[in-house]
């Protein structure tokens, strides 16, 4: 009984390894892209607690985005494999602009940080802006 269960486990383990290797070699490793601003808005609206963006900027490579809502809150879209996750940032956001890149750290992002290529708009997003009226 024990031997057959062990054999079944080892067989399943081998099958898991084979499928994962196949997935890798078939090219399912590339990251996702945000197609346009409309898709970014839809993704921002899925942020926990809700988020209705009034201003959105996409990363030049479409691998992320940043948005502001009417109350002046900031949220980001960060890549996760082929998908994106939306996070509304807390009050402890730290920004750093290097050329056209904006790097963001925040407790809402945990250990991760977000780097976005926003072109000329990088500095604009780094500065605190009063809520839109």
């Amino acid at each position: 009984m024990m031997d057959s269960q062990l054999l079944q486990f080892l067989g399943s383990l081998a099958a898991v390894a084979a499928v994962v290797v196949l997935t890798h070699f078939l090219g399912f490793t590339r990251g996702g892209n945000i197609s346009d601003e409309a898709e970014a808005r839809t993704l921002f609206q899925l942020a926990p607690g809700g988020f209705e963006p009034v201003e959105v900027a996409l990363d030049a490579d479409r691998r992320g985005a940043i948005a502001r809502d009417e109350a002046g809150r900031i949220a980001v879209l960060m890549p996760h494999g082929g998908q994106f996750i939306a996070r509304a940032l807390g009050g402890d956001m730290r920004c750093c602009v290097e050329g056209e890149r904006l790097a963001i750290e925040d407790s809402a992002l945990g250990q991760k940080s977000v780097a976005l290529n926003l072109g000329d708009a990088a500095q604009h997003w780094a500065s605190p802006v009063p809520p839109a009226r």
Partner: protein, 300 residues
């Protein structure tokens, strides 16, 4: 009866995943992501170990319940379809509880933790179902006189049925089938995080339970489905996927005032004593009240 149909279905699961991978390569490359698939399959493998460790105890409990009840249906042929249908009803009750009671959700959430929806997602089965006491939903069938072996086989067949509906390859099936059975379309709705779809379509095999109990929503092709959980994990870490909600419960119970501690176990996911979080009901209400969706609702 020492027969687990799921064991015999595993090779078919693997072959179907390979077939879907090849189809996705040409038709829908965003359907799979290698790390996501690795996590799904590892969770599936781990769940078979958890099942092997606790399966004997579940069987013993069913035998005990069957032994103390004065009812005995036996192995009559007609008992099989009846047991399958009633087991599916029991599954509906379990599954609805698994989404509406945080204690059961903590065990079930790993099934929803992927942002992809493909056949590998189906294998994200629970490791902690026994600890969460999920087996209590099957005990009424044993008390009603059904043979424990029959209950377990029917449960296994139900699980096998649910495998193939985790796919985007199939859009819609014939109308009569969509009306009665759980299908890929109905189950995509169940895995969605779109506000309108939250906590809908709990069915295992027969979608009629959702229609009877008011939890059915059909898939709207105009509203692209996004998969996962409301607070997306953002991690492929196997242990995080399996245990994160249990840790979150422990943290909430520890921090909550005494009179609210138990509520963090039995209230719905997203409930908080200070109203700082959102339940699925609150998210749907917020979505319903958004001006653009009010217009949509009126028009639909």
């Amino acid at each position: 009866m020492d027969f687990n149909p799921v064991t015999y279905a595993i090779p078919a699961f693997v072959l179907l995943i390979v077939a879907e991978l090849l189809w996705s390569k040409w038709r829908r490359p965003e359907a799979y992501e290698s790390r996501d698939t690795a996590t799904s399959l590892a969770i599936g493998l781990g769940s078979t170990v958890a099942g092997a460790l606790t399966g004997g105890a579940v069987a013993a409990l069913l035998v005990w319940a069957h032994a103390i009840t004065p009812l005995s249906i036996g192995w009559a042929w007609w008992a099989w379809p009846l047991c399958f249908v009633l087991d599916d009803l029991a599954y509906y009750v379990f599954h609805r509880s698994a989404h509406r009671v945080r204690w059961f959700w903590a065990s079930h959430v790993n099934h929803h933790s992927s942002q992809h929806y493909n056949l590998s997602t189906a294998l994200r089965q629970s490791w902690t179902g026994f600890f969460a006491l999920s087996f209590i939903f099957r005990l009424p069938l044993a008390f009603a006189g059904f043979e424990p072996g029959m209950i377990l086989v029917c449960g296994g067949l139900n699980l096998i049925y649910q495998f193939w509906i985790h796919t985007e390859v199939i859009t819609r099936l014939p109308r009569w089938f969509e009306a009665v059975m759980n299908t890929p379309s109905h189950h995509r709705v169940h895995h969605a995080v779109n506000a309108r779809y939250l906590d809908r379509n709990y069915a295992g095999t027969f979608i009629v339970w959702d229609k009877m109990f008011g939890t059915f929503t059909s898939e709207d092709d105009a509203d692209r489905i996004r998969y996962g959980i409301v607070h997306q994990l953002g991690s492929f870490n196997l242990l995080k996927a399996v245990f994160h909600e249990w840790l979150a419960i422990a943290r909430d119970v520890w921090r909550a005032p005494w009179r609210h501690k138990l509520s963090y176990l039995w209230r719905e996911p997203g409930w908080s004593h200070d109203g700082s979080r959102e339940t699925s009901t609150m998210i749907r209400e917020r979505w319903d009240q958004a001006p653009q969706h009010e217009t949509h609702s009126e028009g639909s």
